[in-house]
């Protein structure tokens, strides 16, 4: 059996949907962040798959894009975790249901 582009895309799509379910449903803010990281990884798999299976004039564009995505993901993780620690310091919780200071 030959492994083609659709197999890799299927794995990327399923991983993205799992990450989306985690990001939407978790109560802990750090758990939500883990879901976002899984989604970013799924997108990276898809980008590399298209880069690998298509012929283009600039073959490294997909790889360069993945480098940018990894950079932005690292920056996002650092800021989001600092926010979680900051919220914990003020409210003693990282539960997204209990972060309701702006509720009237």
């Amino acid at each position: 059996m030959t492994i083609g582009i659709e197999h890799f895309l299927t794995v990327g799509a399923l991983l993205f949907c799992l990450g989306l379910a985690i990001a939407l449903s978790k109560r802990n803010a750090i758990g939500v962040l883990m879901g976002v990281e899984i989604m970013l990884n799924a997108v990276n798999i898809t980008l590399i798959t298209f880069s690998r299976f298509t012929v283009s004039e600039r073959p490294v564009t997909g790889h360069s894009f993945v480098v940018m995505v990894i950079t932005v993901a690292a920056a996002e993780a650092a800021v989001a975790l600092a926010l979680a620690v900051s919220v914990y310091r003020n409210r003693e919780t990282v539960d997204v249901d209990k972060m309701n200071l702006l509720r009237s």
């Binding site: 993205f16 750090i30 990884n41 590399i48 480098v67 926010l83 914990y88």
Partner: protein, 171 residues
């Protein structure tokens, strides 16, 4: 992608990655969820190797497994009284429903599309990637470095305790 080796590697990697991502979803303890997350990252690095992106696989292991996973662990350990519970909010059912619908759409499109014109391209080395990043994509590359610096400063500012800020103000 022909041959037994890549086929076996693909199925093993798919199983490991998706089961580990499922483990992040179902594990009750947040620390176990982080360990499953690390396994997911390693599986994705394996996919990068399978897709001939050697440099990115290495970067994935160093940045995700090395840096981001440790950062998540630190955040969990720095919030001790918030509990280690990895439970769900009442948005679990709508979230799952949306994810399943999205997965159905993705899978339908992937099955339906005509991939016959797509042909396999040989893999790329780190040298070509470095050349592209420093010639064609040098501006995004520099912007990314500025973004990382700004995120670093912002993260330190956010995570600092009020006592440290007061001490710095006095000094």
């Amino acid at each position: 992608m022909d041959g037994a080796g890549p086929t076996i590697a693909f199925w093993i990697l798919s199983a490991v990655t998706l089961v580990a991502a499922g483990g992040v979803m179902v594990s009750r303890n947040l620390l176990h969820a982080v360990l499953f997350l690390i396994l997911t990252f390693v599986g994705v690095a394996g996919f990068f190797v399978l897709l001939s992106a050697d440099f990115l696989a290495m970067a994935q292991v160093i940045i995700y497994v090395g840096a981001i996973a440790v950062l998540v662990l630190f955040a969990i350990l720095l919030t001790p009284r918030a509990g280690r519970d990895n439970g769900e909010t009442k948005m679990l059912l709508p979230g799952l429903l949306l994810s399943v619908c999205l997965a159905a759409v993705f899978l339908f499109v992937i099955q339906d599309a005509n991939w016959s014109e797509v042909s396999a391209d040989p893999g790329l080395g780190a040298a070509q990637l470095g050349e592209a990043l420093l010639t064609t994509w040098v501006l995004p590359f520099e912007i990314a470095s500025v973004l990382l610096t700004a995120a670093l400063v912002g993260a330190i500012m956010l995570a600092r305790s009020p006592q440290e800020e007061a001490e710095d103000a006095l000094a």
